[in-house]
Amino acid sequence: MIGDYTYTEFTSILAMQGFAGLTLFSVFVLMALGLAIIFGQMGVINMAHGEFMILGAYMTYLCSQFFSVYLPSLFSIYFFFAMILAFAASFLLGMLVEWGLIRFLYRRPLDTLLATWGLSLILQQAYRSIFGAREVGVTLPDWLMGSIALTDIIEIPINGLFVMGLTALITLGVYFGMFRSNWGKRMRAVVQNRTMAGAVGINTKMVDRMTFGLGCGIAGIAGSAFTMIGSTGPTAGQLYIVDTFLIVVFGGAGSLIGTIASAFSISQAQSTIEFFLSGSMAKVLTLLTVVGILMLRPQGLFTLKIRR
């Protein structure tokens, strides 16, 4: 007996909360991957990252509405179209924002914080005006609903599994894109030394725009996945932005493995503690731990070892 629970009940709770944590982890990773590119690599403090995610969520919502009214026969696979639409919308808005705002601020990281915060307020109001202040939810196709019963007590929701698979796929994609492709090499060269990258023949403006757009596009996919576990409102992005920055900073800016490791530890800690204590206590405990670790290791969990 542990507290009021028997031993099997306790392990089942741990397993299910652990799985709920894995779903949260997946959304965190998707959010943080975009930010790891934009903040970790480019050094832009993008406070509007949550709003890019919500844009993806609204696109998914629109898609589900569209398919249920006009193409009910294809409703079961609308989610794949929704993800593409979410990526494209956030990617294009990201490129537009880079062109209109961010490109003037690369040497002034603190100004990007103010500018993108303003942008996030503008976007929130835009969502409120267009989609209304009430939260909206999407209807999932049948095959994504329900759960798999592993034992009598442990049940694993299918949409959680789907989000996890999606995250794994996109993480792999980002890894190969950043560290194995020509585009990734150019991107890393540009963020390390913008002037010199131009002087070896790289079109830095183009690379900057694509990189920012891609980070935003991944946030859009995160938003798409987000609709499965929460409802979408104009300010829902705000709830996640702090956690996302926390993950990127804790993992070590610029390290993909670090981002994943810190997303894992933070989401697992939160969802497990949440069950036994309250949500706010869970937040307090994780924040305290992270602050403590960052005081001892300000560069984050993982860093590159090179002479500077």
Partner: protein
Amino acid sequence: MLSIDKLHVAYGQSKVINNLCLDVKPGEIVAIMGRNGMGKTTLMKSLIGIIPSRSGSIKIGETPPESLENLESYQRVAKGLAYVPQGRMIFPALSVRENIETGLTVTGQTTVPPLIYELFPVLLEMKDRRGGNLSGGQQQQLAIARALASNPKVLLLDEPTEGIQPSIIKEIARTLCRIRDEMGLSIVVSEQVLSFTLDMADRVLVIEKGEFVHDSPRAGIDEKKVSAFLSV
């Protein structure tokens, strides 16, 4: 191969390069010498397009010469100009191989030409190390290799001997001559070390307050006069 005509460069009100003219022939190695603050680095930076020029023209190539003065850096590289900056400026977190590959961008190729590793065998040995973990002399070789990867017509080098031991300076001089002979490109190098210049340059120019005050071929150069310009 490279011709500069009436080039003016200024930072705000302070004029650094005044009415500068220079003609570099194909396969020629030109050394630009001068004391600190006389405009060597500014000239190099304005040639590659990091600093905008006020007026004047920069042309590259022979048939027909192409104007560079209104292009962005990466477009100048595509036209055949390559640049090795003062202080090397390699990408520290990229591996040696990746560093060289960034120079391939304008050529559309994806593999490093074997000639580059032949010129700098040490880079082949260390190709998977991060650029930032190389020594100063190795980083200098990496910076030259990166510039050569874009298959240039004219190579600009800004003080390549800065902070490098004498034996390696001699080696760099030999390598530059070899690059000229094997790749057939023109080289413009800014320098303070006279012995290094005499080891490789075909022509020596002295820059003072943004203007050339001395111009002579290496054969029959008045060494005393040049060192008088260089001494403070």
